[in-house]
Symmetry: C2
Subunit: 550 residues, 2 copies
């Protein structure tokens, strides 16, 4: 057994500062540990118990916990109260009950292999959708129970689409998670992985159990797929996290929507100074990539069509400004960029060159000292590796993502794959890191699920059993094209394979039709396809909805 044994007396020594370790039930002094039934205790420091780290098991601190160990994200600090209790009364078995770390044990020889998928984004969901559940049991772990149809998220902010229309429950995408006896969806965050023991450490969302502490558990895997995505880049600029809205989750879109409607209504308050009214009604978008452009396009469309009629007292003071350090839509064809610039400017969107220096409560300050007062600030300057990914102690790709080979494997460990925004090709593969796009993630999900199904069919599904199986063709990404909407009935479609290639580019109503139909056919379920169509039709007939709920 690989669980460390600690004499209980050592726990009582004053002056120690062991942070935490994980051990098996009964491992204190005597008794046989039961498989998969482990207990978590907390002590004040890790340094005096190096014997604990030999199994690559890391929780809490940032020490590298063995050759194939992966560190737990540093923001997850186990609380110290349990440690205090144990230090006071480490002989009482009942105390350990409170901090037991239960979980899903490794699969037995007569059970199906278990694939654990971290995340519910494009990559994870595409993979789950195609998984052969006759071969595998699946466990999906994510703090979000639905996939977000991100390309349509900007439309929900202004009420063109309902929020529910762009969210698809993961149990609808892969029904085995809900109905199969050994498949599960866990609403939890991954806080660490023991890649040698093939075990994931999780923290449940919300408050369960007897204690006030977060509920933690472990899940053993035969195959692990890491698809935990990325985090928005803030470049360490002060005030961004506190004051800006991101646009990556449905909750973000809901918050933006509430803020827009709130500001429109507050601006009507009688006696408000003109300056303050204008501030409230100034929407600033930082970043001129597809998300920033789509959001400002939707917003200007909303202002031109709906605000004029429904908030007529303040309509002339509503302004949208996009601030970009370089040029907008820099990955698009020059003709399309010019088209987008013309179209947005015509619709009242101000395009501004600038670099943000700091963000305050009601204004941003640019590098050249310009102050820009705002009522709403949306931040979309791209994404980078998450805290969790940064904490993983595996070789990284250029840019700090989890490094993978051509088959999306994490080559330094066995049975671990990574894909989507959190993964990038290792430098030695000679391939470039792919852009953080839904298109890439979706294609990788499709590739990997076929590979994993193939491995399973050839009896390589269990842990450490895929070694001799040929991998087949590696993953090759072929860029189909880029699309961005720039407002009502107008979109850009760039069908070139890369930035420097020649190819077809379209702008205008035809592209908008392509954009809408391409997205419509990709919305995962028929329920949501139907709803999106109904939403679009309703918006055309009745205008947007502007009730402010919550």
């Amino acid at each position: 057994m690989s669980w460390p044994r600690i004499a209980s007396s050592s726990l009582k020594q004053p002056g120690r500062s062991i942070n935490s370790y994980i051990r098996k039930k009964g491992s204190v002094g005597e008794g046989t540990p039961a498989a998969g039934d482990c207990y978590l205790t907390h002590i004040r420091d890790f340094s005096t118990t190096n014997n604990l780290t030999q199994h690559g098991l890391g929780t809490i601190n940032q020490t590298n916990l063995g050759s194939r160990g992966i560190r737990v994200a540093p923001q997850y600090q186990f609380p110290s109260s349990a440690a205090e209790r144990i230090l006071e009364d480490s002989d009482s078995d009942s105390v350990y009950e409170n901090v037991r770390l239960a979980g899903l044990k490794p699969t037995g020889p007569n059970e199906k292999p278990r694939i654990v998928v971290l995340g519910t984004g494009w990559a994870a969901c595409r993979l789950l959708k195609g998984l052969d559940t006759n071969i595998y049991d699946a466990v999906c772990i994510s703090p979000r129970n639905h996939m977000v149809f991100t390309p349509l998220l900007a439309s929900t902010c202004v009420g063109t689409l309902e929020f529910r229309s762009v969210a698809e429950p993961v149990t609808q995408i892969q029904s085995a998670l809900a109905s199969s006896p050994n498949s599960y969806f866990y609403l939890a965050s991954c806080i660490g992985i023991d890649m040698e023991k093939h075990e994931v450490f999780c923290e449940a969302v919300g408050n369960v159990g007897q204690s006030q502490e977060p509920y933690r558990f472990t899940v053993s895997y035969d195959k692990l797929v890491i698809a935990t995505g990325s985090e928005p880049l803030t470049f360490n600029i002060n005030g961004v996290k506190e004051n800006a809205y991101f646009l990556r989750e449905v909750t973000h879109a809901q918050e933006i929507r509430r803020k827009i409607l709130l500001n429109l209504m507050l601006a009507e308050n009688p006696g408000l100074p003109e300056e303050e009214r204008k501030r409230l009604l100034h929407c600033v978008v930082i970043g001129g990539g597809p998300t920033g452009v789509e959001f400002s396009g939707e917003l200007s469309d909303f202002i031109m069509r709906d605000v004029r009629e429904r908030f007529s007292h303040v309509k002339d003071d509503v302004k949208v400004t996009v601030i970009e350090a370089n040029e907008i839509l820099s990955s698009f064809d020059i003709g399309l960029r010019e088209y987008a610039t013309r179209h947005l400017t015509k619709n009242g969107v101000q395009l501004m060159r600038g670099i943000v220096k700091e963000v305050h409560n009601k204004k941003i300050v640019l590098n050249d000292g310009t102050e820009v007062p705002y009522g709403l600030l949306v931040w979309s300057t791209g994404v980078g590796p998450s805290q969790l990914v940064k904490s993983f102690d595996v070789p990284k790709s250029p840019g700090g993502r989890i490094g993978v080979d051509e088959w999306l494997r994490v080559p330094s460990v066995e049975d671990v794959y990574a894909l989507g925004d959190c993964a990038g090709f290792l430098e030695q593969t000679g391939r470039p890191v792919l852009p953080a796009l839904a298109q890439v993630a979706e294609r990788q999900g499709k590739f990997l699920v076929e590979l994993i199904n193939k491995i399973g069919k050839e009896n390589g599904g269990k842990a450490y059993s895929a070694r001799g199986i040929p991998m087949g063709d590696p993953f090759v990404y072929k860029h189909i094209g880029s699309m961005a909407s720039v407002g009502r009935f107008k979109a850009l479609v760039d069908l070139r394979e890369s930035k420097d290639a020649k190819g077809v580019s379209l702008a205008g109503f035809t592209s908008w039709l392509i954009w809408r139909s391409a997205y419509l056919t990709r919305v995962v379920s028929w329920r949501n396809r139907f709803y999106v169509a109904v939403n679009w039709a309703t918006t055309l007939v009745f205008g947007r909805d502007n009730s402010r709920i919550g």
Copy 2:
């Protein structure tokens, strides 16, 4: 001019404790006050400045501020920082700028009379919908910008209906609020009324203006309609407000939905003790009135149909319990009550007699000592007067509502009307206080808007100018019938005029059809009628949606 004058020297006297008063610009020492442009300052006590109260102007404290004055709700305390600043430097005019209380001035002789409506519930919205905007300018003041279609709210909790389908923006109900130059909707709470000066004191929702304090303003009225509704009764039971969910706003339904889905998912966490899993999955409803019964009916239907399939690992532990001190649906016909009891019990809803003594984080304690662990607690034991209504110093109806006469006027003051849940007939009218029902509020709104339109046509729209105008027939309430859904395809319809009368009662599928179609035709806009129909159809075809957003 009715604004009090105060010598600035008195402000500086130490030992004073004047809480606040309102005075005109320039009234400190010299200068002519500008009409409608008033300033708020704060001093430590009210008692030494009784001359301030002669005009019935009340802010902050609980003193009765004149014969027709209405007190400000005690929970609205003006912050003391402005007072401190003034006490330190009361000669500087710039200090007063920070605490100016601007607002809508009284209407001029060439302007249309202004009707101010407080609230966006059934009564207020029905009234606004019918208002003749050729005669009146309308100002609606409410912390909520939409009407909630309350009878369908229970359905949104479990995903049968979308949230947006049961909310209707008030500017859609009365478009003049958005488009007419002198009509407005203000997202604000009323915090006090000066009924002699015909002025409403408001506090904006959210943070506007330079200071961190809430933005306050005044609105003068020619006619005032109070329709601010009621508050849930908690009987001063400890822990209700902290732990229970109410079901009165769309945000409440959203919170309940999130909690149900969260608990269903948390209950799947591996290793959770059985007791804790059962607690998480126990939904307790306090109160067996129509709301409680409809909610538990929807919930049991959701469990029977959707949970079994989508959360199959935990389906057997989900339970719904309704706790009621007397009998469920006590206002309904005995046959219907028995039908409801049978139907709910058959669908797994446990009906329990009991009186709640106290509410804890994860359990409630009944009067007989029984402890009931819960994962979700919904509280629907009826409603009572709000804090704001309690703070008004006008004669009350039995039960503490704002007392009105047969024409829904507040008879002790001029140009003030009250209706819906916040109003009740004065005892001297010899009429009973009507139940807090949408039906009553909607009927009263219809009655009152016709009366107010009539008064306007006869040139009585302006303040103090309706005296000689005959009122016409008083308001008479005729109960059409009560309806309650008890789950899928089953509803109760009680068409008796009163509890003791004879009449038609229906239960079952026919009533469900009546219930659905009656509600469908009452949803205010065609947009929402369409959406509700689409939601119902989609639920029938695809099942309920169970993504958990936020």
